[in-house]
Subunit: 185 residues, 2 copies
């Protein structure tokens, strides 16, 4: 198999997300991707039939989830680590720069919606799992609903990223756990 192919594809995929983050969905152009990837526009069309399929493929392919496998510590410690990692990830990282563009695109492109919702569901699930563990073991108040609590923890991160000028400070992410889970014993 010609190694040029996969090399080119990866370069274009990365450039796709970079352009999506920098210019937004509204002014995302294949020409900008070509320039960023240092590739000819015709090359891009040789690999992807249309702009949307390019975006969808880039998202699926580059969706490595580098969430640290946090196993040690109490449930509360693990929650705080997950949250801080999450809020840090939403402060920068290529994919997070695309969040606003993806939200907008998801409204009208089913392929993008499927990716975005699936991606977030997976991220949320890791929180839910730890929360449920803590509830079952009695570490957290029994009135907690794992699904709702996960929303209360992760929601503010997205809220601050999209609805306020600045993302949620990592330090405040830790305090957030105290709000929702009650003070540490």
């Amino acid at each position: 198999m010609d190694p040029r192919i996969e090399r080119t594809r990866q370069a274009v995929r990365h450039a796709t997300l970079a352009v999506l983050g920098q210019r937004g969905y509204a002014s995302f152009t294949v020409e900008a991707v070509a320039e960023a990837a240092r590739v000819a526009k015709s090359t891009i069309y040789r690999h992807w039939p249309t702009k949307l399929e390019l975006i969808a493929d880039a998202l699926e392919t580059l969706n490595e989830q580098p969430s640290p496998q946090v196993v040690a510590g109490s449930a509360r410690d693990r929650i705080e680590q997950l949250l801080e990692h999450l809020s840090a990830a939403f402060a920068d990282s290529v994919l997070s720069a695309c969040i606003p563009a993806l939200i907008e695109a998801a409204e009208h492109q089913p392929e993008v919606a499927e990716f975005l919702h699936g991606y977030n569901a997976r991220r949320r699930q890791s929180l839910v799992d730890v929360l449920q563990t803590g509830i079952d073991s009695g570490e957290f108040p029994c009135h907690l609903d794992a699904g709702l609590a996960a929303l209360a923890l992760i929601g503010p991160v997205i809220y601050c990223r999209t609805m306020t000028p600045d993302p949620l400070p990592v330090a405040r992410a830790g305090q957030l756990a105290t709000q929702v889970l009650g003070p540490a014993k």
Copy 2:
């Protein structure tokens, strides 16, 4: 003053938000607004010099905030009413349909960002005020931070609207208060 002017302007403003909600920021066009407002394209340009100023003006002008003045009841009751009203408003309403478009636009257009952030800050403030009242009076746990708690309450509403297929059910908005504020006494 010629009544035709204001009549036309209002029609165009409403159409602007409608189009923004339906088609998104990426494929928002003046021509679509003209059609929706049943107005000639040249008429729009007679009133607003550019597309962006049209959007900004429509947002500022139509930013009536019909949040019910909830005064009665305990702090907890008022919180729940505010939350349910909020989640209901985010389920439909012209402005909420524009949320994804606004998030995207705010990334690159300072005018839109200013509106969006200000709008949300005001909505959040009403929650903060009631929360602070409840904390001061001892109705809510003293470990609560009003600002963070407001984020934990409002964040999930936006999160569900943007990151999941369905908005937060109004019923779950009520449960959310229990999660964050602790069980009712």
